[in-house]
Amino acid sequence: MASTTPIDTPPAPPVPRPSPRSTGRMGDKIFLGLSRGSGILLLVIMASIAVFLSYRSAIAISENEGNFLTTFDWNPAGDPPVFGIAVLLFGTVVSSIIAMVIAVPIAVGIALFISHYAPRKLAAPIAYVVDLLAAVPSIVYGIWGALVLVPYLEGLNLWLDDFFGWTYLFDKTEIGIPRSLFTVGILLAIMILPIVTSVSREVFLQVPKMNEEAALALGATRWEVIRLSVLPFGRSGIISASMLGLGRALGETMAVATVLSPSFLISLHVLNPGGGTFAQNIAAKFGEADAFGRDALIASGLVLFVLTLLVNGAARLIIARRKEYSGANA
């Protein structure tokens, strides 16, 4: 399947890189200086942020009496100060995974509908509305989640508990309204839907027409066309779209802080209220934290930073590897 590629664009002839040397005119020199200066400035800013974060984190971690990686507690103001990211890492990853499991299939479905099924008149408005979802500020999602989603999910939770309690995952062992990691996952799924959808859609639209027509000529149905030509072509695009969505889900703050009932326990019963995420914990604790408490929160932020960096790096790696036949390399 993947061998049907070299139809579309031959690799563009490399554009000759203009010599960095200026022609000697004044304007040229000024422009060169300005652009070089902004480039350097950016690097300096990034480096100083990194140094600042690491320095403050080092202060916090060096005085931490608990294990930064395994302690199930967050009490930098205590005597002795004890804090650890285990619960936060767990909550962040679990809620993001729930979000991905829900959002990616739906997003791919929407993208396929827009690119291959919907009549042209319908496709544009739907695409527009999906993009619009991305423009909603996250606190609005949080408000909506707390006011509408949480009361609504009470029934679904009972149902899941009744019929799928045996899966352990959906066994609700604690009472309480569903301000749980599961609810957060659903909310995050809605929030990352637009980005996953629009990137996937762009990729699907770039499937070479000739691939599809070839499949049709062989007698393939619409579904078979998608299965044989569109999905293989778009696979790396879907993956990178998912990674972009994952990046957003990992760092989401206000929506999670509004919906979740945080606690410092790890439980795979995702319907139980409790748990926490990095960003939510920082938002919740920053106000009352003293100077040392803030250093501790910065340390947890650094871990989130690294986590997000890894996810983005993985996404880029995948895109780069499949660059030659993916449209998502923009």
């Binding site: 707390a146 802080a257 509004t258 106000g287 009352e288």
Partner: protein, 378 residues
């Protein structure tokens, strides 16, 4: 289905508060306030009396506890109406933030719902060059235990029962321990949903101190700003906890009395071991604060509250917020304004406002020392 819809409507009406609690978090951005456009002279001013503007002038920035926000709002409004040319700006972020700002020297005074810790006092010495930070008890108030139980309007609990409820040891409303304290009340067979604050809070710390003092065998956690017990559910801010209690049948939570009043949430009467259970009211809180001893040394007036008081009509679960200033070495440009403003808040007029706002005035004996100390600030 119908029930669900009703719940949803209720949630919509009240959840706004839960959300506003979260919004408060975002509003905690630190204002980097330097100095302000003051033209004050560094001289000593008048003694305390009503609104005596003294040599107050220019702009005074302050920051700190949101527990005393409503009182501060009223005070600032009255004071600024009386003293033209003075602008006071109290940023009710949080105690922690207020103390950080105070020790960085960006505010004239800080509000805090617990006395300065030793290391915070040590930090303050850099700012108060010749002196150190001291605590002036200014606002008292009851911490109400609100509950929501269909068919039950009045409930009496004692410290051990409260401790067990918040520690998830008592899980049902019809538990014999609760029934014993509530003769004649028909308690439903419903799960208790205990709510606590998700962020660090002085209110949590005060509840912890109370439970630790009045029910030491049932509450073994240390009184910290962070919620210590593993169970229960969390919500952000007093407003968030109140909104959840209002919304969820079977819920119990703790917050300042004003939140219970404004949302008409019924509050628990506390059985202190005295003759009759005590209601959470401003007067009853003042009676309990009167039993406090001053534990601060020198000019520091930090209080040691007596949580185990059995005095008639004294509501033991109280919170006192302090204003934090330097005993000597206050910034000269704001000193006069700080003295004048705090003299007003500690005056009879200033303290009288508290009762109407759901707080409790500081008892006269302690208040007299506060006024004396304010007069001697330099």
């Amino acid at each position: 289905m119908k029930l669900q819809r009703k719940n949803r409507l209720r949630a919509t009406a009240l959840g706004a508060l839960a959300v506003s609690g979260a919004l408060v978090l975002t509003a905690c951005g630190s204002d980097d306030n330097t100095g302000g456009g003051t033209a004050g002279t560094g001289e000593k001013t008048t003694a305390a009396s009503n609104v005596d503007c003294g040599k107050a002038k220019g702009q005074l920035r302050a920051s700190g506890s949101s527990a005393q926000k409503n009182a501060m709002d009223l005070w600032v409004k009255n004071y600024m109406a009386a003293c033209s040319g003075v602008e006071i700006n109290y940023n009710s972020s949080s105690s922690g933030e207020g103390i950080v700002a105070f020790n960085q020297g960006t505010v004239g005074f800080a509000g805090s719902d617990s006395a300065l810790k030793p290391e915070e006092v040590a930090d303050s010495k850099k700012m108060c060059k010749t002196g150190q930070g001291i605590n002036l008890p200014m606002v008292g108030g009851p911490v109400a235990i609100g509950f929501h139980l269909e068919g039950v309007d009045a409930l009496t609990l004692d410290a051990p029962t409260l401790a067990k409820i918040f520690d998830s040891k008592i899980k049902k409303w019809n538990d014999p321990a609760i029934a014993k304290l509530n003769d004649g009340v028909k308690l439903p067979d419903k799960a208790i949903q205990a709510f606590h604050r998700s962020e660090d809070s002085g209110t949590t710390q005060n509840l912890g101190k109370y439970l630790g003092a009045a029910a030491p065998s049932d509450w073994k956690y240390e009184a910290e700003k962070k919620w210590p017990a593993p169970g229960g559910q969390a919500a952000s801010g007093s407003s968030g906890v109140a909104a959840q209690v209002k919304q969820v049948d079977g819920a119990i939570g703790y917050f300042e009395l004003s939140y219970a009043k404004s949302q008409s949430i019924p509050t628990v009467d506390i059985n202190t071991g005295g003759a009759t259970p005590v209601k959470a009211t401003s007067e009853n809180a003042s009676k309990a604060i009167a039993a406090a001893k001053i534990k601060g040394t020198g000019k520091d007036l930090a209080l040691d509250l007596d949580y185990t008081t059995k005095a008639e009509g004294a509501y033991p679960l109280v919170l006192v917020t302090y204003e934090v200033v330097c005993d000597t070495g206050n910034k000269p440009e704001t000193l006069d304004t700080v003295k004048s403003f705090l003299s007003y808040t500690a005056s009879d007029d200033g303290q009288k406002i508290l009762t109407d706002a759901g707080y409790a005035p500081i008892p006269a004996e302690i208040n007299a020392k506060v006024r004396e100390t304010i007069g001697s600030l330099s």
